[in-house]
């Protein structure tokens, strides 16, 4: 708390007022972005300079890998610099002013909505598939409390009676299917056949919506061409290494890239914290079911039909980033497979796609983005080439100093940019970026051959799977790099010369080692949890409400009875 002797005249103290008046794109950020671009170009020219070329094989690996990174970085900068326009127009504010019709005694969640003089029906879907009851309770409670008249549905694909009882207790609607076809997309499509509101919101079971969610998103639909409004995924559980890394990885995307994509009319849906216009989804035949990444595919279909998408860079729901290696691996694999699928099954640059040039470029980025996750893996194997075969990517006449300077021009400026724009730079992000290449490689292969990933993990559902089930390639890479580093050190001792290859190899081995240490800690915790579960009855898991969102106390309203709707009305 800031103490001074100046009287506080309104609800703000200086720090909160500064946050409230924050400009999204400060001039300093723009200059930093331009500097970073310059650094990228310098680095690219250094690598491509024929005088600096070393041995062909490692040079090719480095040029191709860094080429992917450089191209994607430049495109990201361009996107970021394009995002200076606020999507909220005069029409939006006008619609927002007349949106809520207050009723004296009623709670805010019952206030009537009004959009262009009509009363829109809004459905709020909470998609559930085996999540803990407490998590669902938190989300459903917050969903019920959203301001403005709406119906709240729990769409339970896990067919859990506990969830059904919870819905009854809270007083929200409950839907269950007899099959799981089409996964989450099928679940939503099934709900759309029953819930006929003009607009519907989707929240994953762990994303707790802000009470003002509808107020902020619905006014955009005053424009007839808007199909959906997407808001960021904000994470409230940045408590362990994996979730911090995974969470901060997304920060840049949600804070700067998506707003930029708005300008290209290519902001895409991320499956949660989103409001759709029902008729738009209806026009493309429902949410896409033929992919694990139904969200991006749905966006693509809508954009092809000429619809507008809006991304509002305002945190209106707080959820959980993946906390375990397993969750992280599955999430990234799903996203990356979806991205690559677009490339193979609906190439954005093909003349058959009816997209604007802007959208083609943006979907091109989306579909190849995860290549930037694969290339660090290729770079890990460049130092071993030097150690084992004496092959170097750059000419021996290039000094370590020059090499480092160029490298710093690219990477340090990126770090500085991240630091300035996100407010902090996390080494966890670097670690995850360095160790995730097997996931993205697997995604590429899966998308190419069109197969579903089968995980061979524990057979029992009561025990948590060991993280090492998902990390065999990473462990092997670590062992390889550690042994190679040892060989490199031995060589350097014999020849009495320090080589850059050895230094890199040891550094990379340490980074992978850090990831393995994290995983070891996780499996230790798992084992302890199993042991304590055996000793005592399972404790009722309490979930702390996430910090940034105030969750109103559930109101017990006996006048509303939970309705159960089953497939075809069969009980």
């Amino acid at each position: 708390m800031h103490h001074d002797d100046i009287l506080q005249l309104d609800r703000h103290v200086p720090s909160t007022r500064r946050a409230a008046s924050d400009q999204h794109h400060s001039p300093l950020l723009i200059v930093l972005t331009l500097l970073a671009t310059l650094g990228v170009l310098l680095y690219a020219s250094f690598l491509l300079n024929p005088n600096n070329r070393g041995d062909l094989v490692p040079w090719l690996v480095v040029v191709l890998a860094e080429g992917v990174l450089v191209v994607h970085t430049l495109l990201a900068m361009w996107t970021v610099l394009s995002g200076t326009k606020d999507p909220r127009t005069y029409a939006y504010w006008a619609a927002r002013d007349s949106l809520l019709v207050r009723r004296g005694q009623e709670p805010a969640s019952r206030w009537e909505l009004s959009l262009r003089g009509r009363r829109p029906g809004v459905e709020v879907f909470v998609t559930v598939y085996g999540e803990p009851v407490e998590t669902v309770r938190r989300t459903a409670t917050a969903a019920l409390a959203i301001h403005g008249e709406h119906r709240t549905w729990i769409l339970d694909d896990g067919r859990s009676d506990e969830i059904r009882d919870l819905a009854e207790e809270l007083g929200c609607l409950y839907l269950r299917r007899l099959s799981n076809t089409g996964a989450k997309a099928g679940n939503i499509n099934h709900a759309l056949s029953i819930a006929k509101g003009d607009f519907f919101c989707i929240f994953d079971a762990d994303f707790v919506p802000h009470p003002e969610f509808i107020e902020h998103t619905l006014p955009f639909f005053t424009d007839d061409t808007v199909a959906f409004v997407q808001t960021p995924q904000t994470y409230g559980n940045l408590s362990n290494l994996i979730s911090r890394g995974a969470g901060y990885m997304q920060t840049m995307f949600y804070r700067f890239v998506q707003p930029g994509r708005n300008h290209f009319n290519a902001a895409f849906c991320v499956g949660t914290n989103v409001m759709f216009r029902r008729s738009a989804v209806h026009e493309i035949g429902g949410i896409c079911v033929d992919s694990k990444s139904e969200d991006v595919w749905t966006s693509l279909r809508l954009h092809e039909r000429g619809w507008r998408s809006i991304y509002l860079a305002k945190s209106l729901a707080v959820g959980d980033a993946p906390e375990t290696v397993e969750a992280y691996t599955k999430q990234q694999l799903r996203w990356a497979t979806g991205g690559f699928e677009i490339w193979f099954r609906a190439n954005p640059f093909s003349p058959r796609r009816r997209l604007t040039p802007d959208q083609r470029i943006m979907y091109g980025i989306t579909s190849t983005h995860y290549l930037t996750g694969i290339v660090p893996g290729a770079l890990l194997f460049v130092p071993p080439m030097e150690i084992f075969f004496d092959l170097r990517p750059v000419n021996l006449t290039v000094g370590v100093g020059q090499w480092l300077l160029m490298y710093a021009g690219f990477y340090l400026l990126q770090v500085a940019l991240a630091f300035f724009s996100v407010g902090s730079f996390r080494w966890e992000v670097l670690m995850l970026a360095a160790v995730s290449y097997p996931i993205y490689l697997k995604a590429l292969v899966n998308a190419l051959v069109g197969r579903e990933q089968q995980w061979h993990v524990t057979g029992s559902t009561t025990r948590t799977a060991s993280p090492f089930n998902f990390m065999v390639p990473q462990v092997l890479t670590f062992v390889f790099l550690a042994l190679t580093g040892a060989v490199g050190v031995w060589q350097n001792l014999v020849t009495g010369r320090f080589t850059l290859g050895t230094a890199w190899c040891v550094t990379n081995a340490l980074v992978l080692g850090a990831f393995i240490v994290v995983a070891l800690g996780e499996s230790r915790r798992n084992r302890r949890a199993v042991r304590s579960a055996r000793r005592s009855p399972p404790p009722t898991r309490t979930v702390d409400p996430p910090v940034p969102v105030a969750v109103p106390r559930p109101r017990h309203r006996p006048d509303r009875v939970a309705r159960q709707v089953l497939d075809g009305g069969r009980a």
Binding site: I387, H456, S466, V472, V475, L476, L483, T484, V487
Partner: protein
């Protein structure tokens, strides 16, 4: 972990360790090899020349001929020699040339037996003072190779050590170190190694092994480390199966 994944992990670990072990032996094999920065065939040769230029009036041998010791090669008529003689220069014939003082002519003789590998003196041409012909003694070829070595590598050269010589024709032949000298120029130590290559001597002088032919030399340095034995086995194995 499931047993299936454990199996995958352990098989993978075995594979990785095996690959690294094999590659380490490759590294060791490379660390005991030094590659020449430049190397060439040398041989005993004698250059025939004179301070007196002049017109070649007679030519007794062609380039590439085998010549005997003392065989006449060519005769020069030199105006400057004439002038010097008339100014009182005393000239004596030696084993290498005969002077005809009356006409101001010099006839050059072969100072050794061998092959006439270079002959600029063609009948009717004017020869400036300087080198005029070269005789190379076939069968005395050796190789001189220059290496840029670290002190540690330099310390592992042994007289009598093995080396591989690769001719421009890609044929390889073994050699042994007969002499080592080192010079430091501009902060870089350049080691010059002289190699005896028996198979070169037995070959007649072809274009590929005459003096000055560029060759490349791989010198095997002495290895007394713990990996010496396994590396030898690996190299022998590769040799056996025909990889090297």
């Amino acid at each position: 972990m499931t047993w299936r994944n454990r199996l995958r992990l352990w098989c993978g670990l075995l594979l990785v360790v095996g690959v690294v072990a094999a590659l380490t032996l490759v590294v060791n094999q490379r660390s005991r090899q030094a590659f020449s920065s430049n190397a060439q065939v040398g041989a005993e040769l004698s250059t025939i020349g004179s301070e007196y230029g002049g017109v070649v009036v007679e030519q007794y041998a062609e380039k590439g001929d085998e010549v005997e010791l003392g065989q006449e090669l060519f005769t020069i008529s030199s105006l400057s020699l004439k002038r010097d003689l008339s100014n009182g220069l005393q000239s004596i014939s030696t084993r290498a040339y005969e002077v005809d003082a009356r006409h101001g002519r010099v006839t050059f003789l072969a100072p050794m037996a061998g092959t006439l590998t270079d002959l600029r003196a063609e009948r009717g041409t004017f020869l400036a003072a300087g080198e005029m012909a070269t005789i190379t003694d076939g069968g005395t070829q050796y190789v001189t190779a220059q290496f840029r070595l670290t002190p540690e590598q330099y310390g592992r050269i042994r007289i009598g050590g093995e080396a591989q010589v690769e001719l421009p024709s890609r044929s390889r032949m073994p050699g042994t170190v007969s002499d080592v000298s080192v010079q430091t120029s501009e902060g870089v130590a350049v080691t010059t190694v002289e190699l005896a290559v028996p198979r070169l001597e037995s070959e007649s002088l072809a274009s590929l092994n005459q003096p000055g032919s560029p060759v490349s030399v791989t010198l095997t340095l002495a290895d007394s480390g713990i990996l010496a034995g396994p590396t030898d086995s690996l190299v022998q194995f590769l040799h056996r199966v025909g990889v090297r």
